[in-house]
């Protein structure tokens, strides 16, 4: 499918969206090319066979499966996609990429969509996932390595998810698997420079 064909597809969708006014979403024709550029994936090759979705470990817990997300991207349904749980539930296991007949890495598209959602101020549908990712990166920013104890404490505080797995954490701690003090690397200035270079919206 060429860009031209996509554009005309999108406009066709817009007409039908108008006719089912109310629950249909406005189409954003620039969405597909933007996501393709961000993810470096050729999303228009997807012929919606769902091989990815059938093998995706977390698809059952997603609101849209990976293939549906790609389809919604093809159809320019930006809001639906960026507000979805699916993009936060992908664990990046690359199973979809390994099997897709058209070589599409849906996981990479999910990553691009997460980043886009943050940049454009969409509230994440899985807030805890975001909080944990952020605390993980904070840990790296502070120490260059991950320090579980401080990361988990902050995560628990910020996510409000105070009680899940407390017993598990305690068991780990008792087995000496969670060090009390962080390891701090020497080259912190470089790490901080790398963090400082991040594009806006991702801090």
């Amino acid at each position: 499918m060429t860009t031209g064909a996509t554009a005309s597809l999108s406009s066709a969708v817009r007409t039908s969206a108008a006719s089912t006014a109310g629950n249909a979403q406005r189409v954003d024709p620039s969405f597909l090319p933007t996501v393709e550029a961000l993810s470096h994936e050729n999303i228009r090759r997807c012929y919606y066979c769902l091989k990815c979705t059938a093998g995706c470990p977390t698809a059952y817990a997603m609101d849209y499966g990976p293939a549906h997300v790609l389809k919604l991207v093809q159809l320019g349904q930006k809001d639906k996609v960026l507000q979805s749980k699916a993009i936060w539930m992908c664990v990046g296991c690359e199973t979809c990429w390994t099997r897709c007949p058209n070589g599409i890495a849906a996981g990479h598209v999910m990553d691009a969509l997460k980043q886009m959602a943050l940049r454009e101020g969409y509230a994440p549908a899985e807030r805890r996932v975001l909080v944990l990712h952020r605390q993980f990166l904070t840990s790296i920013r502070l120490f260059g390595r991950v320090h579980e104890l401080s990361m988990l404490a902050l995560y628990k505080l910020l996510s409000g998810d105070l009680f899940t797995d407390l017993d598990l954490g305690a068991r780990m701690f008792l087995r000496g698997k969670i060090p009390i003090l962080p390891e701090r690397i020497k080259g912190m200035s470089k790490i901080q420079q790398l963090f400082a270079k991040r594009p806006r919206g991702q801090e």
């Binding site: 470990p57 977390t58 059952y60 817990a61 539930m89 664990v91 990046g92 296991c93 690359e94 199973t95 990429w97 390994t98 890495a105 990553d111 691009a112 997460k114 980043q115 943050l118 899985e126 805890r128 996932v129 975001l130 909080v131 944990l132 990712h133 952020r134 993980f136 990166l137 840990s139 790296i140 260059g144 390595r145 991950v146 579980e148 988990l152 995560y155 996510s159 998810d161 899940t164 797995d165 598990l168 068991r171 780990m172 087995r175 000496g176 698997k177 969670i178 060090p179 390891e183 690397i185 020497k186 080259g187 470089k190 790490i191 790398l194 963090f195 270079k197 991040r198 594009p199 991702q202």
Partner: protein
């Protein structure tokens, strides 16, 4: 055999027994691990989820530092391996990016050292015969199922196919050399839920539970894995499963077979204590 060594954060914390056993086994096998000086965290799935630049730049710092050792980089963690392999691939395939990183770290990227996973090195650089020759306590009668999860062998575009992405065999080959009885099962490459371990424990419980149940169905004595994340997920999410299945690192079993000292402290770190099972098998 010399390698540069990237332990990754977990081998100093939640997977400390993996770190200990890796170092002990490599020493016993004459594998010289030279730890990358002042390495940093690869960024794991958090970086690639939120920040494509960091996701590549963080591991690239490690790749650059590893060049000082001048040998393939071995890493025990599958998630680190996935990030390092992606960063290395980017450096090799995108010259504009390579130039940017070379300027950033003021180092030229020669690309002579390749990121490799520990199992690849143990199973492919070492012949099963050579390994078998060093075995002092064969793991006779131990039924094992090998668990790879996803990132150890996927995506094939990044792993160079060091093992088959759908039906991997290298771990079983090692285990056979150790005298164990690897059993065929269907869950070797199913994902355990990986990075959702803390924030969506419910999902991980379902995914990991299915895998542990699969090991029980195969009547395995233990699950053998080669990744701290997999181990933690499988080891910690066994509520309601009976009997509970010990989840051992492949290096721990090698440690037993090679009869290495100090191993009891490894097993003390597990949530599902493997010692009763090992005792039953006469392998403690």
């Amino acid at each position: 055999m010399k390698y540069s060594y990237y332990p990754g954060c977990t081998l100093h914390s939640t997977a400390i027994e993996y770190g200990w056993s890796t170092e002990a086994v490599c020493e016993a096998l004459g594998i010289d691990l030279v730890e990358i000086e002042d390495w940093n965290c690869c960024g794991a799935s958090s970086a690639h989820s939120l920040d494509p630049h960091l996701a590549l730049a963080l591991p690239t710092r490690d790749l650059m530092r590893a060049q000082a050792v001048g040998a393939d980089i071995v890493m025990p963690c599958a998630a680190c391996y996935g990030r390092m392999a992606a960063a290395d691939h980017k450096m090799r395939s995108d010259s504009a990016w390579r130039k940017e990183m070379e300027a950033e770290f003021q180092t030229e990227y020669i690309g002579a050292a390749r990121p490799r996973t520990l199992v690849d090195v143990l199973g492919n650089d070492l012949s099963p015969e050579a390994l078998a020759a060093k075995v002092k306590r064969p793991l006779n009668g131990l039924r094992t199922v090998s668990y790879y999860g996803c990132l150890l062998i996927r995506p094939p575009d990044l792993t160079n196919r060091w093992d088959d992405p759908e039906h991997p065999v290298v771990m079983d080959r090692i285990l056979k050399a150790l005298g164990a009885e690897p059993v065929q099962w269907a869950h070797a490459v199913e994902c355990c839920g990986a990075s959702l371990a803390l924030d969506r424990a419910d999902v991980v419980t379902v995914l990991s539970g299915r895998i542990v149940q699969g090991a029980n169905d195969a009547e395995a004595d233990c699950i053998v894995c080669a990744c701290p994340l997999c181990q933690a997920n499988l080891d910690s999410r066994q509520k309601g499963i009976s009997p509970k299945v010990p989840v051992l690192y492949i290096t721990e079993l090698m440690g037993i077979a090679l009869d290495l000292p100090g191993r009891s402290k490894w097993f003390a770190k597990h949530l599902v204590d493997p010692r009763p099972m090992l005792r039953r098998k006469g392998l403690e």
